[in-house]
Structure formats: structure tokens, C-alpha cells
């Protein structure tokens, strides 16, 4: 699942850029941040596309597990910009089973084609000679209640399903067992609200990771990536979280199907 590793890496890099843009001279550049957020959104889309592989877990379970993992990895976090070049050609990814790659069951409120999301990472990975994941012929409806396939065939291929862990580097730390527990998948039959809740949790985790920085990003001036300075109190972490959440959602609808 090289594309997922790549997607995760790109997400980390993108978040780092957004974070760094706050301290750049001349103020936040709207154009660049918009472009970065588009990349972030695309990468996140791809990265999440496998999460809703059919298993349904309660939000609470997932949340607590994520906090656990996050604490464990807190000290590994460094600004994404300091990451070196991504490891190219991770071993063992070539035989990612198409079944495992099934991205289709992600219930998107906007009805995007998740299978399409498979394509671009393959393109983006041209330099890595990445394997192309399962093609567009995948089943689009998703398997409700399908257990996460046994990932034993792809050792170390998956990063932890701790989505958007900022700049975490440990892609291969999770055992398959842990991973299945943590995967926050809503009912794949299409409850559109649940994925959004997951995102809230992750976004607030992110905000926490970056401390108060995101609040500055969204409130300091009127050129944040996607929200107005006057949209509420500045400096409140909760508001940023909400802002970030609101930001992320409309962009998914704006995306052209991959």
C-alpha cells in the first residue's frame, strides 16, 4: 500500500507547510495555503479511502485508542518540513492484495468515487516506481460489515491508522492486530455523519499536537486558508478545531473526482 504511505507522508508535509506559513514574513499567503490545503485534502482522501473497509467501531473506542497512540508518539513529532525524502520503494508493497486495497466502502457524503482516489497516488509515485493499487474496476458499493482483511501479507506496508499524525515517522510501528482495533470505520453502508465525526476527533488531536499554533493560523488575520478572522474568537483551540473541521468538509465536495 505504497500509496497510503505516500499519502500519509504528503499529509504530514502539507501540515508542516501550513504550520510554517504562520511564521513566514509577509503574513500568510492565501494562494500557497489554498494549494497546500488542496493537496492535504487529496492525500487525506486517499489515505482514508481504505479505512472504511467494512468494519464498524464505536467512535469512543476509536478516540481513546487514538489518544493512546498519540501520547506514545508525541515525542517523535517534529515539523514535517524537516523530514528527509521519503523512503522510496518500500519493500513488500508490491504484493498488496487488491482486496486489502479496497477503498470503495468509504461512504462519502458527496458521493465521490473512492476508486478514483487510487489513481493519483500511482501517478504521484511514478518516481518511486510505486505499484499501482487496484484499479477502477473495484466494487464501488463496499462491503458492509466486512472485517478488515488480514494484512499479514503486507508486513509493514501500512502505516498506523492514526490518521494525520503530523510528522510522525513511524510508518511501520503497528501490528495488524492493533490496527484493526484502531481503524475508525463507521458503518460502511453509508452513514455520512460518522466519517465527519471521526474527522473531528482527528482534527482536534492535530490541533492539540500543534498546540495553539492552529488557533493563530485561523484567527490572526483574514487570510487564513479557509476561514475568516472575524469568524469568532481568536485563539480558542476549540474554535479552531471547528474551523478546521468546517474547512475540510466543503473541500471534499469541491474536489474533482480523482
Amino acid at each position: 500500500m505504497e500509496y497510503k504511505v505516500e499519502a500519509h507522508r504528503i499529509m504530514s508535509i502539507s501540515l508542516g507547510k501550513i504550520y510554517n506559513s504562520r511564521v513566514q514574513r509577509g503574513g500568510i499567503k492565501l494562494h500557497k495555503n489554498l494549494l497546500v490545503s488542496l493537496v492535504l485534502r487529496s492525500a487525506r482522501q486517499v489515505y482514508l479511502s481504505d479505512y472504511y473497509g467494512g468494519v464498524c467501531f464505536s467512535a469512543q473506542q476509536v478516540e481513546s485508542k487514538e489518544w493512546e497512540l498519540m501520547d506514545a508518539e508525541q515525542n517523535k513529532l517534529r515539523p514535517a518540513a524537516e523530514e528527509g525524502p521519503a523512503p522510496q520503494k518500500d519493500a513488500g508493497l508490491g504484493d498488496a492484495t487488491p482486496v486489502a486495497d479496497e477503498p470503495t466502502s468509504q461512504p462519502q457524503a458527496d458521493g465521490e468515487s473512492p476508486a478514483g482516489a487510487q489513481q493519483p497516488p500511482a501517478e504521484a509515485d511514478a518516481e518511486t516506481g510505486g505499484t499501482s493499487p487496484a484499479g477502477p474496476a473495484e466494487d464501488q458499493t463496499g462491503g458492509g460489515g466486512r472485517a478488515l482483511p488480514d494484512e499479514a501479507g503486507t508486513p509493514g506496508a501500512h502505516s498506523c491508522p492514526t490518521r494525520k499524525r503530523g510528522a510522525e515517522k513511524s510508518h511501520h510501528a503497528c501490528s495488524p492486530q492493533k490496527r484493526t482495533k484502531v481503524t475508525p470505520t463507521p458503518d460502511s453502508s453509508g452513514a455520512a455523519e460518522e466519517p465527519e465525526e471521526m474527522e473531528t476527533g482527528n482534527v482536534s488531536n492535530l490541533i492539540t499536537i500543534f498546540g495553539s499554533s492552529f488557533s493563530g493560523l485561523l484567527s490572526k488575520d483574514d487570510t487564513p486558508p479557509a476561514s475568516e478572522g472575524e469568524d469568532g474568537d481568536s485563539g480558542s483551540g476549540q474554535i479552531c478545531c471547528d474551523q478546521m473541521l468546517k474547512n475540510l468538509n466543503p473541500w471534499t465536495t469541491a474536489i474533482v473526482a480523482f
Partner: protein
């Protein structure tokens, strides 16, 4: 006839001059951020990140020195913009000069507009080569004379003096842009000009600084719905009611100011359908247009995105009439270029005087020229190694795969810190100015 592109026996580019420090350690303030010839080509202006403007003037060709054909020498240097601090928003405003645009010359003085992120200034550059002497009330040092000692009246006389070039700010157009200004463009009526930031375009009158008309506003009511920004704008060279603006989504809108006061509805919409097979995480970024320029004829316009230059016929909206690949070999490197921020570099492009050729920059101090008639293209390099006077520039080639031939350079050896973002072509002759970081190179065609 004005040829543009080398290759073959008909035309070759030669080194003429280079301006700027040789020092390897480049001060950020010295990085050139804009280059522009004036309408006659006699003046060449550069702006830098330190907020300074340097104007070069072409020497008249003289019989005494036939080989120094029209060299450009420093004419005037002044500090156009200073760093500012917006206390309300706790934001520093960079002094970097984003754009310089000359006004057509109407008298002995020269006028240009220079802008940073927030403020546009109209500068008057004038020569003084005479000085009045023989004042009644003050003596030659300027000290006031004792009025009781003045016993006779005289008329001051104009005496020649060493040429002095003075630059003075005549207008300051401020506080009209919330977002960062990316373009200014003088209208063909010579009375108005437009300025564009990420979300809005304003129309100014050159004489009026306390207000401007907002003619385009793409800011959504809810900023969370923002999907695209304005990246460049330009007035039509002949039709004073027409202008275009490009977007981060790779589209261009042509607007007619006669249609409505607010030109949110375009008259024409130029967009090329995307090739789905080339989609990637970075498709959106590389389709963002970094520059748009009308041809001198006004019939075409050219856009620059990250990997290509496209020429559009204003009468055809659904696709460009010509597409030129600038550095297609970078397509497989987009992820790395995203990491090191190079993918956000905003390359400019320019036409030659006859619209037969176009030029744009690349990395490794390479710049590219495309001849629209012969379809030939050439890659040249701006480097100190090729800086012997009148040295002919050798075409360069990037090896994209397979065995690297002698004199070719491999993609991985390219220096991405050496980027040529700004180039300018003399309006009438084959003289080009290429900004390479803190150096300005001037090349011209071979003198036979």
C-alpha cells in the same frame, strides 16, 4: 525581420552584460523580483526583495564604440518600498517589489508603477542637468543673504551641471488590498490601471489615490468555500475596456468593463479540459497559472503554469492554440518539488516584439525560448561561465533518461535554487534581460 530563437545558422544569442554581485553568498534583499523594459526599450527596470528599484538606461550607439552596441548602465536607483508593520493584524508587510510597470512616456520625465504586497506607488524619474544660479536672496551655498546687503537685482541664470537623475514618489495608492497584490497593469487609455490581489481586482485612476473601483471580487461569503484565487491580471493592450485574469485552477477569464460595474461575470472563459490520465496529488498545483500576458497584437494571450506555456487565441475558449513544454521532465519529480517548495515557484513569461517568439525561465539558471513559427525551441543558461563579452550562448540540454550524452545535464543534477522566474524582452529588438537570483543578465543577438 525579428527572429527569436536560435538553432541553425540564422540566429544566435550572445552574452552582453551581467549586473549584480558575483559573491556566492547572496543577500536575500538583492534577489531580483521583477524585470521590465519600458515602451521604447531604452530603460530597463528591476525591483528586488529589499524594496529597491534599479533602472538601467541604454547607451546611445556611437560611432566611436561600435562594438558596445547599446549597453545598459545604471540610470537611477531608489528605495521604492520599505518594510511595514500592520499593527492591527500583527502582520509584517514585505517590502519586496512584486511588479513594475512603466507608463507610456508623455514628456521628458519617465513614470513607472511599482508595487509590493499592499501598496502601489507612482514614481517620477526625471533628469536634472541644469541648475539656476545667481539668486538674489541666497548665495551659492544656499545660505540666506542679508537683505540689507542686497543692493542690486539680478535674474538667476540656468547653468549646466552634472546630470542628476531624481526619482520622486508622485502618488501612493494604499489601503485598497486586503490580500497580497500579485499584478498591476496599465490600461491603454493611459489614465487608469488595475491592481489584483488573491481575491479582488481594483481599477484606479492614476491621478486619484484615495479611492479605487473594485471590478472583480471572487471572495466567497463563507471563506471556507474558497476554492480558487486570482493569480495574475492584465489589461488588453488596445481595448481599454477589456482585461483578463487567471486563477489558481488554471482558468482565464476575460472581462469587459462596459458590461457591468462589477465584472464578476466574465465575457469569456478559457479553460483546457484536464487530461485525466495525468492526474496526481499535485495536478491542481501545477495547473495554477503563474503569469498571463497579452501578445502585442492583442489577438493572443499566453499563460504559464508550472510545467508549460500555453498560447490562447482570444476567439477560442475551449483550448489553447499552442502548448509548449518547458520542463516536462519535472513531472515525475513533483513530490520532491512539493517538499522543497519549488512547485510553488511562479514563473513569468514574455513575448518578443513581433509576437513570433516567447520566453520563460526554468531551473539551473536555464531559460527557454520557443519560436511560434518554426516550432523550434532552445534552452540557454545564464551563468558567469558564459560571460565573455559577445560570447555565443551554447544551447543546453537536459538528459531525461538513458545515457547522458556529453554536455547534457541530468535531471538530478539540476540546481533548483537557481531559478529564473523573471525575464523580459526588448519591445523592438532582440535584446533580453534575464534575472538569475541577484544577477541580471542581458543577452542580445549576434552582431554580424
Amino acid at each position: 525581420a525579428m527572429a527569436g530563437v536560435g538553432g541553425g545558422n540564422d540566429f544566435q544569442w550572445c552574452f552582453s552584460q551581467v549586473k549584480g554581485a558575483i559573491d556566492e553568498d547572496v543577500a536575500e534583499a538583492d534577489i531580483i523580483s521583477t524585470v521590465e523594459f519600458n515602451y521604447s526599450g531604452d530603460l530597463l527596470a528591476t525591483g528586488d526583495k529589499g524594496g529597491r528599484v534599479v533602472i538601467f538606461q541604454r547607451e546611445q550607439e556611437s560611432k566611436n564604440r561600435p562594438l558596445s552596441r547599446g549597453e545598459y548602465n545604471v540610470y537611477s536607483t531608489f528605495q521604492s518600498h520599505e518594510p511595514e508593520f500592520d499593527y492591527l493584524k500583527s502582520l509584517e508587510i514585505e517590502e519586496k517589489i512584486n511588479k513594475i510597470r512603466w507608463l507610456p512616456q508623455q514628456n521628458a520625465a519617465h513614470f513607472l508603477l511599482s508595487t509590493n504586497d499592499k501598496t502601489i506607488k507612482l514614481w517620477k524619474i526625471s533628469e536634472r542637468d541644469k541648475r539656476a544660479e545667481g539668486y538674489n536672496l541666497k548665495d551659492e551655498d544656499g545660505r540666506l543673504r542679508d537683505p540689507f546687503r542686497i543692493t542690486s537685482l539680478r535674474v538667476p541664470v540656468l547653468m549646466p551641471m552634472d546630470l542628476m537623475v531624481e526619482a520622486s514618489p508622485r502618488r501612493i495608492f494604499a489601503n485598497a488590498h486586503t490580500y497580497h497584490i500579485n499584478s498591476i497593469s496599465v490600461n491603454s487609455d493611459h489614465e487608469t490601471y488595475l491592481s489584483a490581489d488573491d481575491l479582488r481586482i481594483n481599477l484606479w485612476h492614476l491621478e486619484i489615490t484615495d479611492r479605487s473601483f473594485n471590478i472583480v471580487d471572487i471572495k466567497p461569503a463563507n471563506m471556507e468555500e474558497l476554492t480558487e484565487v486570482i493569480t495574475a491580471a492584465e489589461c488588453h493592450p488596445h481595448q481599454c475596456n477589456v482585461f483578463v485574469y487567471s486563477s489558481s485552477k488554471g482558468t482565464i477569464r476575460l472581462c469587459d468593463m462596459r458590461a457591468a460595474a462589477l465584472c464578476d461575470r466574465h465575457s469569456k472563459f478559457f479553460e483546457e479540459p484536464e487530461d485525466p490520465s495525468s492526474r496526481s496529488f499535485f495536478s491542481e498545483i501545477i495547473s495554477s497559472i503563474s503569469d498571463v500576458k497579452f501578445s502585442h497584437s492583442g489577438r493572443y494571450m499566453m499563460t504559464r503554469d508550472y510545467l508549460s506555456v500555453k498560447v490562447w487565441d482570444l476567439n477560442m475558449e475551449n483550448r489553447p492554440v499552442e502548448t509548449y513544454q518547458v520542463h516536462e521532465y519535472l513531472r515525475s519529480k513533483l513530490c520532491s518539488l512539493y517538499e522543497n517548495d519549488c512547485i510553488f515557484d511562479k514563473f513569468e513569461c514574455c513575448w518578443n516584439g513581433s509576437d513570433s517568439a516567447i520566453m520563460t525561465g526554468s531551473y539551473n539558471n536555464f531559460f527557454r525560448m520557443f519560436d511560434r513559427n518554426t516550432r523550434r525551441d532552445i534552452t540557454l543558461e545564464a551563468s558567469r561561465e558564459n560571460s565573455k563579452p559577445r560570447a555565443i550562448l551554447k544551447p543546453r540540454k537536459v538528459c531525461t533518461g538513458g545515457k547522458r550524452k556529453k554536455d547534457e545535464i541530468s535531471v538530478d543534477s539540476l540546481d533548483f535554487n537557481k531559478k529564473i522566474l523573471h525575464t523580459a524582452w526588448h519591445p523592438k529588438e532582440n535584446v533580453i534581460a534575464v534575472a538569475a537570483t541577484n544577477n541580471l543578465y542581458i543577452f542580445q543577438d549576434k552582431i554580424n
